[in-house]
Symmetry: C2
Subunit: 389 residues, 2 copies
């Protein structure tokens, strides 16, 4: 286990009806805020009404900025920054899923500086301050409701890049599993794939003696695998949604990577795919992850064997560990298929003709490698994308 | 799953050599503090030297209060409160195990009020403020380094009582597994029993649909069971200690009871035993818990079956669930024996002659019940204590 520091300050308010507390909680920070959301779904579901009624009751004024799209765009972030500066807003309330929250975090960092927030995403400097962010989560998936991360797409060149900073942990997040009842099945599946990927990125590590977090990661994967069929079959299954929503937050709140170093190459490769083709992040991950696994399997076969046996209940065969590992990967693919996701690029409507371009962009022209478990150069990324064809 | 709120603000600083950061971290809060510890072990190990050197280097002055005993006493707490008030101290730094930390938390609550801190332990009012507490942990056991709890013994009447308050979450806790290398084997075993008990208290719940936290609790129990033999055989096994130390903190930091209601009767019963006989808390728990399990088994046999199968790898026998559960309890007893603890009152040197008195005191003369999984009256507590004979 490696030395680490861990402190996650996000207050979680979990359960039925908890969105009614939003005004009271927001007012602790500011009475003049940016209300940030996506499209009309929160209006159709009545959530918008309940949130704004709660804000009103707590004496909170707000300016609205709607229109966040999946793979949230820098141009809308810039609009939000302008609004926050112009109206001297004191908090950004994200009502939605990971895209809305990531966009809110970008606005929070950009609103307290003179320069361009995109510089942070390019690795030019790190934020030293940010407006407070709070969330009402509607989609269990990205984990952004209790994480340090934000991923934004710059339409100029379709670059998708991430920032991580302790400054953008949301101050509080309201998690009501009922809000997930109305999600389309495809979005549910993408969320589940995203959560599984956050767990697998952390699981495949070169750090030894990480038994406790191994067990915690396995426990969380088993929860997701066990509960996914219920929410897909019965969209208003509160109990199953509660398990998935809480597991999805813990999957990405930095607890499960304490003392270990995750991989994250699959996320980086997927960012190239969704950056170019604008596919759903979770759908992209379902394609990349099995291919990545097949490519890196021999780097630490034992780790794949442990994962297959403990998470997928593959029977141990000490004389044939590679077969055990491959059955585990096959079970992951079957799981993705069972929730309605494909595991090949063609399932995303993508032909192989831009694989070279994606591999080149992902590695900045073979000048950087991706991942920690195995460091991937341009050629390796190309090979993984071909394995996913 | 029940609605819940969760926010644990304690900053964890984990790993080799991390006690050298203590001065820097303390100085963020105060440069005039109470340094609180137990006996000479931190001087013998050199920890005292390293901590005070770090305080000096950071410009932090301190007043010392040593002498905390296991089952920490109210009289020393009162001394600490007097020192904090007299010298206007701004933080209490606990260097030690759960007893030192619990004592520090009591001092922190008592130093900001005019009245008697013991009133809080008697349930007369709740704290509304407290001095900041920070810790350098030397014993993985109580989980107090990242918890809301403090347990103090009042020598007048040997009453042992607890307070829980968000105000006494330590601001930071330094966890260096190396500090556990020099613990006596008996203390190691007691710590392991305490951690297991924190997990089992949470596991046995009447709340349904708690699959995720079930899995997390099982993961943490499996970690403790798996690593305990290593630290007992090789006291300087850093990697095994790291697993146990981190698991011990997570076992009691409130994450693992999110959405569920734990039992805690075994802790209450043990408090009567250690209040009267001054036995080590963990040693007492190893006696009480198996007896409690045998008494409440039929209340929810399924939960015991799941625990036996998942945590202890007992083979499932659907035609004989009671046998599966009993094998699980037997394996727990075997585990306690394997780490050097007894599971009968006589192993603590206790005869049965004061069982009636303990049962009476624990239930305040049969006016209150203990536990949530099954509510125990005086008669039930007496029966459990007899089962432990």
């Amino acid at each position: 286990m490696e030395n680490f520091e861990f402190q996650n300050p996000t207050k979680i308010i979990f359960g039925r009806g908890t969105e009614e507390k939003v005004g009271h909680e927001v007012a602790k920070y500011s009475t003049n805020i940016l209300l940030h959301y996506g499209g009309g779904s929160i209006k159709a579901s009545g959530l918008y009404e309940r949130v704004t009624a709660s804000l009103k009751a707590a004496g909170v004024d707000w300016i609205e900025l709607a229109g966040v799209k999946p793979n949230p765009r820098l141009s809308l972030v810039q609009e939000g920054i302008k609004l926050c500066k112009q109206h001297k807003l004191g908090l950004i309330l994200a009502v939605g899923g990971g895209s809305v929250i990531d966009s809110a975090k970008a606005i929070a960092m950009g609103s307290v500086i003179e320069g361009d927030v995109w510089d942070f995403y390019l690795g030019r400097g790190a934020p030293v301050d940010a407006l407070p962010v709070a969330t009402v989560l509607t989609i269990p998936a990205a984990g952004s409701e209790s994480s340090t991360g934000t991923v934004i797409t710059n339409e100029e060149g379709w670059l998708k890049r991430a920032v991580n900073s302790d400054l953008i942990y949301p101050r509080f997040s309201i998690l009501n599993p009922e809000l997930a009842f109305t999600l389309p099945a495809f979005q549910v599946a993408c969320g589940i794939a995203d959560i599984m990927s956050h767990l697998m990125e952390r699981y495949f590590t070169n750090v030894s003696h990480v038994s406790f977090t191994d067990h915690l990661l396995e426990a969380t994967m088993k929860t997701i695998i066990g509960q996914a069929p219920f929410v897909l079959k019965t969209p208003n299954d509160y109990d199953a949604w509660a398990e998935i929503m809480w597991a999805g937050t813990i999957a990405h709140n930095n607890l499960l990577n304490t003392g270990r170093v995750g991989d994250w190459a699959s996320h980086d490769i997927e960012h190239e795919i969704s950056g170019i083709y604008d596919v759903a992040h979770g759908a992209g991950l379902a394609v990349v992850f099995p291919a990545w696994m097949k490519h890196v399997l021999q780097h630490d076969l034992n780790r794949f064997v442990q994962w297959a046996v403990r998470v997928w209940n593959v029977e141990m065969d000490v004389y044939n560990p590679e077969a055990v590992a491959l059955i585990g990967i096959h079970k992951l693919e079957e799981f993705f298929h069972s929730i309605g996701l494909g595991t090949e690029l063609s399932d995303l409507g993508i032909q192989g003709d831009r694989i070279d371009e994606m591999a080149n962009k992902a590695t900045d022209g073979d000048t950087r490698t991706l991942g920690n478990f195995v460091k991937l150069n341009e050629k390796a990324v190309r090979k993984i994308l071909h394995l996913a064809e």
